[in-house]
Symmetry: C2
Subunit: 412 residues, 2 copies
């Protein structure tokens, strides 16, 4: 039998989906499973997009331009300009989700062995994308104690070598929900200018900022045009994960023309998906108001419920729809499996993502889980009851002393 | 300014699109340009697919399974089984076009420096996909004199080294239109078994076989289950290039589970696109009959018109919707540009793909062009008149003696 490549063997499996067989088994046994493990929103896709799909009118379902349709890119530029980005259609490459945008950026900017510095915990698939490009991720630890704020620039600086080509942030952050401040972005700007690095910014959760906090992008910074590449997606913004429409935004023309070669090789993004995405740019402001109110309430419910549990600590994040919580257990990989396999309360249980998969530092995040608040409040509340009961029953329970002090600091 | 990677700088630009600025300029000057350069069919997408799009019914446009929806893969397996493949849904991974399937296969089966043997001329983007995986293409020349038949197996064997991991065919072939015979596939089977190689088969043009010729796939061969990976696409089959739905079919479970890791990293193929593709599997047989009759007539028109031109030779291919023709010119790259830039007849001109972009052997195909017959017969006839006039006027005209003899052999 012909061999699998080392590249194929070493490709990391998705840690978010690793527990799926146990969840399937639990369902098979008749348990109800609350899915807090995956960022698939339950929010309705905007009506303008549904209408656009249902009224498509063409004879031939043709390729579009490799960079995306002119009309969609024009509307997208208007969307970004409303957010103060100062871009035009020519600065945008439409991609198949943010995933493709990230892969194209890594291939365009990093050679095998080149390094990209990423604050961790980070979205697990970045490891897969780096692996595909033979690029190397150098993680900078951020900490639950500070709500996963940007680590001091000195920590990044320690890691910079001749091979460092980029710094990569996700803002608002998946998995931590952390929203970077303007000042933090300015710190990163200085670093990128000093060492001539790219600044990659995954902004898939741009619309999800809470408590009146404002979103800032590296696109808002002066003098960084040649350095910034923004990755974006309509998956979360319009609850349209299945549309597979993202994009790549940069004012660096050499990067864009290089990226276009990769885009041309795969011909074009989806045509109907772009039609719907274009309609999505007309989603009324009221849609986002309703959605953000809903997410804020869910976050409040989740954060309060978690911090009420003995030995649990959860910061109160300002963005995205995830939290990373510390649990009083020996190892969350074991605990999350145990919850699905051995536990139920009222014939219900909960699926969570062990946080170790979001770290590359060995041993980090072993007592943390990522929870996505993509369920309605009633289900979220029930999931929290399950979790509380499970933590009491779990044989590997370990309580750390500092947790209660941390909670005091978080409480408003 | 941060640097572009070597990977990005070296990424080959699409040779099919290279002449686009000249075509744009010609249009700008008011010339009508007949596009024979790109495989975008003008055939209507089946009504069942349009109906499926227009009646989508969901609240949340969600991710599907990374491997594609169970229901689409089930229908797709039925489609393949009607073609005698003996597969089930579990042998299929739905991808974003055949392009993604090829990239995933290269990453799963080839490490940097590993070699894949491909008969040339071949679809130009294979070079891009190999480059992205740092794999090396070893071309085996096929010749216009034999209609681009499979070169003798001994020619493949000469190229096999410890680094050779796969043989890659496109059947029916893009760009040559050549349809591989059962016997030729058996020859490749022996080679793959002898040297333990993968056999990659791009079958995007499976439905386009003419003159009563039957299509054979490596999937029809016994004892090759662990070796064969088929790449497929609905782009041409249902004239749905803009749907970006392809797939990866193999009975090798280790390959499939490796490929799934790459598929999981990019989350999912498009959901609406899969709904439409699933409906497409119910396209009535009459659709293909009408389409194939139309393409046969176009091919006949094209091949006859080309061979009537002095110094032009074009084989009569049995599949796909391309021909590769030899032209009496010094260099088709120069000629194709000249036709757009300096020539017009009745204020019309023609855009063709110089064949050199489909070869990796230096200097090969310099007197050949690829023509796609994706225009109606009236336009095709006009395009042929343009071409004939252009060949007479072109200053770099060079007639080779052997052409007329070749035509004699082709004439029915």
């Amino acid at each position: 039998m012909p061999k699998i490549s080392k590249k194929g063997n070493g490709m990391p499996a998705s840690p978010i989906r690793k527990l799926t067989p146990y969840a399937e088994q639990a369902k098979h046994e008749g348990k109800k499973v609350y899915h807090l493990n995956i960022g698939q929103p339950d929010i309705d896709t905007p009506q303008v997009m549904m209408d656009a799909i249902r009224s498509v009118d063409f004879d031939v379902w043709a390729y579009t331009q490799s960079e995306g349709t002119e009309s969609y890119r024009t509307k997208l530029a208007e969307y970004y300009n409303r957010a103060g980005y100062n871009v035009d259609a020519g600065d945008i490459l439409v991609t198949s989700g943010a995933s493709e945008a990230i892969v194209i950026a890594m291939q365009s900017c990093l050679d095998p062995g080149d390094e990209v510095i990423i604050p961790e915990p980070f979205y697990a698939n970045y490891s897969a994308f780096a692996w595909m490009s033979s690029a190397v991720i150098k993680p900078v630890l951020s900490f639950i104690e500070t709500g996963f704020a940007l680590p001091p620039v000195s920590e990044f600086e320690k890691l910079i070598t001749a091979k460092t080509k980029a710094i990569f942030i996700c803002n608002p952050n998946n998995p931590s929900g952390y929203l970077y401040s303007y000042e933090e972005l300015v710190e990163l700007k200085k670093l990128c200018l000093k060492y001539d690095l790219y600044l990659f910014a995954d902004e898939a959760y741009r619309e999800f900022c809470y408590d009146g906090n404002k979103f800032y992008s590296p696109m808002h910074l002066e003098g960084l045009d040649d350095h910034v590449i923004v990755f974006d997606s309509i998956s979360k913004r319009y609850s349209a994960c299945g549309a597979r429409i993202g994009c790549f935004v940069t004012k660096n023309k050499r990067v864009l023309s290089t990226a276009l070669k990769f885009a041309q090789a795969r011909l074009s993004p989806g045509m109907v998906d772009q039609i719907a995405a274009e309609a999505g740019t007309d989603t009324p402001e009221s849609y986002f108001e309703v959605v953000n109110k809903e997410y804020t309430e869910r976050r409040d419910l989740l954060v309060q419920a978690l911090n009420k549990m003995e030995g649990v600590f959860c910061p109160n994040p300002k963005g995205a729809f995830y939290v990373v919580a510390r649990l009083p257990v020996d190892d969350t990989e074991k605990f999350c499996q145990w919850v699905l396999e051995k536990f139920s309360y009222d014939n219900e249980t909960v699926m969570m993502a062990p946080a170790a998969g979001f770290y590359c530092t060995e041993g980090a995040g072993r007592d943390e889980v990522r929870l996505a608040y993509v369920l309605n409040k009633e289900d979220l509340a029930k999931a929290m009851i399950c979790l509380e009961k499970a933590l009491i029953e779990y044989p590997g329970r370990v309580v750390k002393g500092e947790t209660e002090t941390l909670k005091e600091e978080v409480r408003i």
